[in-house]
Amino acid sequence: MKAFLAFLRNTWRGLTAMRTALTLLFLLALGAMPGALLPQRSLNAQKVTEYIAEKGWWGRFLDRLQFFDVYASYWFSAVYVLLFVSLVGCLLPRTWEYFKQMRAKPVLTPRNLARLPHHAEGGTAESPEAVVARAKQRLKGWRLVEREEADGARSVSAERGYLRETGNLVFHFSLLGLLVAFALGKMVGYEGQVIVQSQGGQFCNSGVYNFDSFRPGLRVDGTQLSPFCVRVNDFHATYLHNGQAQSFRADIDYQSGPDLDSGTWRPYPLEVNSPLRTAGDRVYLLGHGYTPLFTVTFPNGEQRTGATQWRPVNEVTLASEGATKFDPPGVTDTEQRRKNQLAITGLLAPTAGFRGELLDSVFPEARDPAVAIDVYRGDLGTDSGRGQSIFSIDEKQVQDGKLAKVARKNLRQGEELTLDDGTRIRFEGVKDWVSLQVSHDPTQVWVLLFSVLVILGLGVSLSVKRRRVWVRAAPGPDGRTVVEVGGLARTDQAGYGEEFGSLARDVLEKEK
């Protein structure tokens, strides 16, 4: 039992020692680095998959060691938890010590002031009392105590710069607070992305199923999202002549709180760097793209218009790809339907540039949209049980011969093509879509508060210097008073010399 206690005590001492803290700091720095050098799931899951596939066993090995989820890994968590335990172990005794010191008097005047790093000496005809009174006058703002010594000498012991330790403790405690607030945010926060079509597309934050992707915190089950709705009316982008974007703005309406019941919509110009903050959540404009509009006139004369968003494959020219899918209208027999589903895939160029028959986009704005499309007919496999992307067709259906390419053509806005069965497909033009992100993090205001305290604490603890000065005035053998001044900088030495010099001069020399 005794041995066990000793073991615990030694472990605790070891953990709270400064050299352990330093080692842990290095481990933290070292452990964070792979996150900058290797792809991370939290940032780009697809890239991680590609990386692992490319590197083979090495990729799988790294994956097993959680190198693609560094900041959620056991080893990274272990390092920062140990570091913060060590920090607490260091802070508690220091806080105790701090409160004791705040009430304590400055320490006794050392017997031999000449031994201190700063020292000055002189003689005067004044009485020791007068010298001490002048010293006290000069040391205004210092915490000081006057003492009478055995041989009739008087001394002043003064100390200043207690704020340094205050700042130090505020800084370290705020770091703790920051970590706790950050961790809580990860528990109760969530983040979801959704694409909304402009010209009236709506999104309501009522359930997880409304999002295209959703990342819940550990304690979020998706049932209690903050209720609000957003309607995208219009999207504007301006570009420089070289295609560099100059501004993005989505004109949206939103409703939250009582507005939901009364049906009131409030306008908001949603821009990059200016999210909508409502119902405790934030809505961001993350990206935009184009939706090609295709009108299909089926042989029976019925018309359908498809408006599915395509995704940009070139971030600069916004050349996009995707798949717009149609069910034949009025067909109830599933067998028949499966034979006649249509899909339009290919490339969309907001501003067309043709090199022969080859279409590419030359500018991100929709000045002269055109599409280069392949039309497929057959079974899209939408009820095959396999999931499929809205941006592409299921290639397996093509391989299996269930889906066949029936046409390939370039279409400018307003042009159309006719399939062998008389179906006409017309490219009507494009409309914008915007990609929105909804973020919920109720603790981020606490993170901000602690960050400000971190800065304040750090500034104070690095700029204030803790220093001591002692003055002793003793009656000398010749009736004059011997005055000695000694000084000690308790933390960093730099900079105390000048202050001490001026202090000592003022105490030693009688004012003129």
């Binding site: 964070a32 996150g35 940032l43 100059q246 690095l462």
Partner: protein, 313 residues
């Protein structure tokens, strides 16, 4: 938003002139360092009332520096004059670009590098007044000239408006604070490397100033820059909250900035811990600056992240 071509051309010219002037200043300093003798001090006989301390390298009562100026010293003084001139040229280059583009002139890597090196030079000019380290100017100006040369050639970007994500007043705050603090941190980086050379005890480094002067230069400038760097990171987090939907997301640039911050925190702790003072602490400081450079070049140019604003094709 049109760009004033005339002013941006003047900005480019002053930038080029600043690089040239710094180059000559560096040559002068290096000549001083190579040919100068170790400065001698003489004790003055008169009993000064207060024995001041020389620990800051500030003016010291009781000690006077011999007044004759050797040729090497004259070279050093010319180096200082040129440094001031170069700094003024570089400042006008920054101001001209800001006026030409009607935005804060630190929106791409070229401009960022210019502000960073300007901060480093300004820090050096301030430190030279407080510490007897003039002849080390060359060691600071050589990396500055290299960085500015790379900035003006490889990383150069035409004056232009910035993309929407950068159109925020946080560009003014976050980027300027980060680049100024990184610039200041160049100085302790250099001082720490020189400290390591000096304290290695090799004969060829005897001309360097005392190890503890170098240590204090490194410490004082780090202590000034570290809180600034902290403010810069936190401002970045506030901006990220408005622009990217989260205040911290382990973007590569954020990660390496965090690692840098931890390393400098380790430096400050090491310097106050028995057994870690001196050479280990200097190694840590040098590592901090190396990471800073890594963050500037590797993370901007090689990895892809949200901070890819280098403006380099």
């Amino acid at each position: 938003m049109p760009v004033n071509e005339t002013l941006s051309t003047y900005s480019d010219w002053t930038y080029g002139a600043a690089v040239a002037v710094y180059f000559f200043a560096a040559v002068f300093y290096l000549c001083e360092a190579a040919f100068g003798r170790v400065k001698t001090r003489e004790l003055v006989g008169a009993g000064a009332p207060v024995a001041g301390t020389a620990e800051d390298g500030t003016w010291t009562p009781g000690l006077v520096v011999r007044q004759e100026r050797s040729r090497a010293e004259k070279l050093g003084r010319m180096g200082v004059a040129l440094t001031v001139l170069g700094a003024l040229l570089q400042l006008s280059s920054l101001v001209l670009r800001g006026v030409a583009t009607e935005r804060a002139p630190w929106g791409n890597m070229y401009e960022y590098g210019s502000l960073l090196t300007f901060a480093a030079v300004a820090t050096w000019l301030v430190l030279m007044r407080k510490f007897p380290v003039r002849k080390l100017g060359g060691f600071v100006l050589v990396p500055v000239v290299i960085l500015m040369f790379l900035g003006g050639t490889v990383l150069y970007a035409e004056a232009a408006p910035v993309q929407p994500a950068l159109q925020s007043y946080w560009l003014v705050v976050h980027v300027s604070v980060i680049s100024v603090s990184s610039g200041i941190l160049l100085v302790p980086g250099v001082a720490s490397v020189l400290y390591l050379l000096k304290s290695s005890g090799r004969a060829r480094f005897t001309k360097l100033p005392d190890a503890d002067v170098l240590d204090r230069v490194a410490y004082r400038s780090t202590v000034f820059a570290f809180p600034l760097f902290t403010i810069g990171i936190i401002c970045g987090a506030i901006w990220a909250e408005a622009a990217w939907g989260r205040f911290w997301g382990w973007d590569p640039k954020e990660t390496v900035a965090f690692v840098c911050w931890v390393v400098y925190a380790a430096y400050l702790h090491a310097r106050a811990t028995a057994g870690w003072r001196g050479r280990p602490a200097a190694w840590i400081n040098a590592l901090g600056f190396a990471l800073n450079v890594f963050n500037l070049f590797f993370i901007n140019l090689v990895t892809t992240g949200l901070h890819s604003y280098a403006g380099v094709g």
